[in-house]
Symmetry: C2
């Protein structure tokens, strides 16, 4: 048993935290039933945390820990009022406040199940199903969808249920291949049917009443359900670490190849990295994928409301998969757990939601001296810390990858199943905003726009973000007579705000510490952001989709650090009408030079589906890197042992190769 | 022994080819000594090759093979005239032609060694070395550099020798850390000293005579020469394939996971892939990294001439490393050899210059049915075909990576040692066009601009290149009332020419076959190019650097196929003054719609060095992908077996994790 005093400030939510918080709040509001949407640890106050970390790092006596606070979002079931509360784990209430009616908290898992069940029982829904005259054995299911906004006055908590046909009784039957043409909207609190929407199936917005279903065969992905045989020529590929892994774990602290960091977890961000140091030097205070929005480009009603904020509306933490040995990773795997509350305030274990393992990623560096063919070859060992989130149909694989040369990569892989719509493609219908991906089924164009929140501590907390363009020198008889010269031109982001990438200018964003000068380069130490150039949000500036996701309009945002400013689109995104995050904080005109700053990078995918993305999508990969740039005086991986056959034990392929070693018969 | 008739049209140069070609040419020019710069197989005529491949693919009777022709670049030593010849392996001369005096052939390895030796013996060079008054035991060496152009009238074949100090007698002593301040220019034919250049060491172009060397310590990379200890906490990571690899090899033909292709090799491109098919369907006729230019951004004399074309001036093939088991790759490795001629016409084996192995690259696809938590997980097995080229100081790792979902990636990793210049940084000197990377040593800004030549055969040879932009629909009460709609807008490249990428518009280039319609999407089958958005050439349009490398001014070029048009900057790049490649061919105004087209993609790195890139550079990675886009009717990797522990045999990490599983003591 670990006492409270043993918990590190960055340790995640414990089951006891959940019980304590729920009890405090129930006691504070006697007589009312509370429906808990979220209980989690409040980020520790940075001003109190930094001295603690600094003492840890320097080995000095530890100051008092920052207070461990918990927060909760909950509904009072008697009044229907939505609340936020903050409590101290020792039992004190910091505050309980009622939130305005137009603020919706995130989805909770119990709620989604309840809505799904209510939908399947509702007579109006059953009547629509009846009209389809499905063959015997066919069933219908629904995915309750986040109800993106199209009104400034809607204050009900709504879910749009997209309905699908299950053609076979199998746990992985791909209902997304067989969408129905009706879509009921439910009030999530009262479970009342608000409206029955009908979905367009032609090339325009026209809808019609539910018709008998024209039977088509679904496109299945489960191996049991494929018509084609499974490949038999794939041979096993086994990763062995006979001496164990190169990492050590102490609680949530990881040590690996000069890196040290803490593996945090919360219900919203999921995986968070804290206090990342390399060889004892500070690099980043906190790193997380803080938000993502998925707006769809089908202009037709009701699809215009398809805009999920997967972190803010639901949560990468609560949707993180329990990972399984030998499936999601290869090699020597460590797992980390998390917890969430259920709607009644009971702890739910989120087992093995983060995994960690080493991987080989080709060469780290090589040089051959051509005079004597003596080569130095060093392989690139990496450490991957990963979660995989299932948000209804889609999957996101979100991984932090550390290497031995001071680089930190954030890799996103999008997989899972496209969100689908019905279409009359047997009649040759195509639409310009989507792709037909199977019989009777279309997948609309959409974007995935992520916000990576980078809270730097490059040799300390006073940092400056700037960018450098590579620009040609003008031709000049004295300085540049041959017209080949080019230089880096720096621009400091001295005020909070945003900036755009520029591939054309070779623009690179960097975070520097003006108080720490590299003795070799004679410039301030820095880390650079190897950004992912991406198309920004395509929706019209007048649209709710755009107003809610201001963060998705620019690739780079810089703000001055403030506690509680963690999420790019603001604290509450579910049915939000306007951004309450980055665009607000960036407008404060704060000084951001040589102070505690936060860098936010928006990047993502414009995903116009391919038939190949269905019925389950090959991973689409996008990545961002943080790379030292004059942080070290030389390559920090020089001391990595050489790559040798004795260490690596590879196998020579001896298959007979007949050509081209023999003589032509002339 | 394999007879000539057994050689496949795409089989690379054999030692017998070299002997045959050299003998034919010597017999044709009796009395003269010939210096061979290159002997290689001439690409078979496509019009004769396609029917042969088609018969192979369909299993029909094979037509006659296309003629196997060889070509050679050589100097007549008596006249000094440079020639090109083409001969038939059966002994006939197709042609021998004299080339104009202003055309220089590529470097040959014997020549580089001869220049290096001539330089080290020359009295003027020895006199300069003497002036440095080096400590006992210190030596000097030189790298002869390709002599980039600054004159329309220079017809001598020149080399600029950059001189360096070797501080320790070790085969991997990093002389690049200790550059000298003088740089002799030699005539490569006569071995005469043409001029002694002196290098600027301050913040401008001023030079001075050679001074006594101010001793500094070089920055070493060899493990023997490091001051710091080698890391001892990296544990072995072993890849085992107990049942062998999933590939089979027949001659140069590879079969792997529905892919079939031929591994070609020539002295210039190095690795070439031919006749790439997936599940029997044609995708690409020929794929190769056909050129790369590295212009440097230091405007000062003589650095303005630093512009190498590593494929055209030297050759990725002849600089490809002999790869070693357990060093360059991990797992079950197959190797392919190549051959080159020496300057006398003798064959030289290029042992194990291409390697091939499988690797695991995380997940291929995953979906979890959230209702029952049943997951389909399929891992992403890849096949890597790779070469590593050492071009003096730099290394390039050039790999083709196939996956199971129809994707082909071309990955470039740049590593090796920066090209360096002397600098007085002990006096605080910095320059805006480079970075100080060690005591007395600076590395200038430069670019690496690659040209990937993609000769498609998407379901056949008549293809069309087009691009699609993702563009917002205008807000419209009828069609787009909520302002969220966006569509793909196609533009066909119907004439030979160039185009630019546009991140802002989400522009995607595709290759389609209008005669083959996908029955699901109802659109022509296509492959798309997942391009690498890169800053294009920075040098002034008036500069030789720019005029020689027109290909590097635009990201996309489309030409109509013609035999012999293989290299983006033209056939002869060494000391070239103007592009004779893409900009010429693209100006022909050929129709490129629904015909045999070639797509060329220019991409690369603007590399403004970091101190971390020295003394040997952590790999900088950039990649391009070819992805099916409506080529298949669904995900072609659905039939890949699931990822299971039984197959993968991973290990659970059991280290005790103390938090956060225990109760706080309240």
């Amino acid at each position: 048993m670990m006492s409270l005093s043993q918990l590190h400030p960055f340790d995640p939510l414990t089951p006891e935290d959940i019980t304590v918080c729920a009890n405090i709040l129930r006691n504070a509001i006697p007589g009312a039933t509370l429906r808990f949407k979220r209980i989690d640890v409040l980020e520790p106050v940075k001003g109190e945390t930094v001295p603690y970390l600094e003492a840890e790092r320097s080995g000095h006596a530890l100051p008092p820990k920052p207070a461990r606070l918990l927060f909760s979002y909950f509904h009072r079931m008697d009044t229907g009022v939505f609340h936020k509360a903050v409590v101290n784990v020792n039992g004190q209430i910091v505050y309980i406040k009622e939130l305005p009616k137009d603020i919706q908290g995130p989805a909770d898992i119990d709620e989604l199940i309840e809505v799904e069940e209510a939908c399947m029982k509702h007579p109006a829904v059953l009547a629509e199903i009846e009209k389809m005259q499905l063959p015997p054995g066919f069933k219908v299911c629904n995915d309750p969808w986040i109800y993106g906004t199209d009104s400034d006055s809607e204050t009900r908590r709504l879910a749009q249920c997209y309905m699908y046909i299950i053609e076979v009784d199998h746990p992985e039957s791909n209902h997304y291949s067989l969408p129905c043409t009706f879509s009921p909207v439910f009030d999530q609190i009262t479970k009342e049917l608000v409206r029955m929407d009908y979905l367009p199936t032609g090339a325009d917005g026209q809808v019609q009443s539910t018709q008998p279903w024209k039977q088509v065969k679904g496109v299945q992905y489960a191996h049991d359900l494929l018509d084609e045989p499974i490949r038999t020529d794939l041979k096993p590929y086994v990763v062995q670490q006979p001496e164990g892994p190169s990492y050590t774990i102490n609680g949530r602290e990881v040590n690996w190849q000069k890196w040290k960091f803490r593996v945090g977890f919360n219900n919203r961000d999921g995986l968070v990295l804290y206090n990342v140091t390399f060889d004892g030097r500070q690099t980043f205070y906190r790193l997380s994928m803080c938000e993502m929005t998925v707006p769809y480009g089908d202009p037709r009603k009701p699809f215009h409301r398809k805009q999920a904020f997967d972190a803010g509306d639901v949560g990468f933490g609560i949707t993180a998969n329990s990972l399984a040995l030998g499936c999601d990773c290869l090699g020597h795997i460590a797992y980390f757990d998390g917890y969430r509350t259920d709607s009644k305030g009971n702890p739910v274990l989120l087992k093995s939601v983060i995994c960690m393992h080493e991987q080989d990623n080709g060469l780290q560096h090589k040089h051959t001296n051509y005079r004597n063919n003596v080569a130095t070859v060093v392989r690139n060992r990496e450490l991957v810390v990963q979660m995989i989130c299932t948000v209804s149909n889609y999957e996101y694989i979100l991984a932090w990858v550390f290497d031995q040369a001071g680089n930190i990569e954030h890799e996103v892989r999008a997989t899972g199943i496209l969100s689908t719509m019905p279409i009359d493609n047997h009649e040759g219908v195509k639409v310009p905003w989507g792709t037909n991906v199977g019989p009777g089924v279309m997948a609309a164009n959409h974007q995935h726009l992520f916000s990576l929140r980078i809270d730097p501590a490059v040799d300390g907390h006073n940092n400056t973000v700037f960018y450098e363009d590579s620009v040609a020198l003008p031709v000049d008889a004295e300085l540049n007579p041959f017209g080949v010269g080019y230089v880096s031109r720096p621009t400091v982001l001295s005020k909070a705000g945003y900036a755009d990438l520029s591939v054309q200018n070779g623009r690179v964003f960097k975070i520097r510490n003006d108080s720490s000068i590299n003795p070799i380069s004679l410039k301030p130490v820095a880390y650079k952001l190897h950004a992912a150039p991406s198309q920004m949000l395509l929706m019209d500036p007048s649209s709710f989709s755009s107003k809610r996701a201001a963060f998705a309009q620019h690739a780079i945002w810089v703000t001055r650090y403030q506690d509680d400013e963690l999420y790019a689109a603001g604290e509450f995104t579910n049915q939000s009408r306007v951004d309450t995050g980055l665009s607000v904080w960036a407008a404060r005109d704060d000084n951001t030079e040589n102070t505690d700053v936060v860098l936010w990078h928006t990047f993502g995918l414009t995903h116009n589906p391919r038939p190949e993305d269905f019925p389950v999508m090959p991973c689409e990969r996008i990545s961002v890197m943080l790379k030292p740039d004059g942080f070290f005086t030389k390559n920090p991986a020089l001391d990595v042992p050489a790559s040798t056959q004795k260490f690596n034990r590879s196998t020579l392929h001896e298959e007979k190769q007949t050509a081209p070693c023999c003589a032509p018969k002339l």
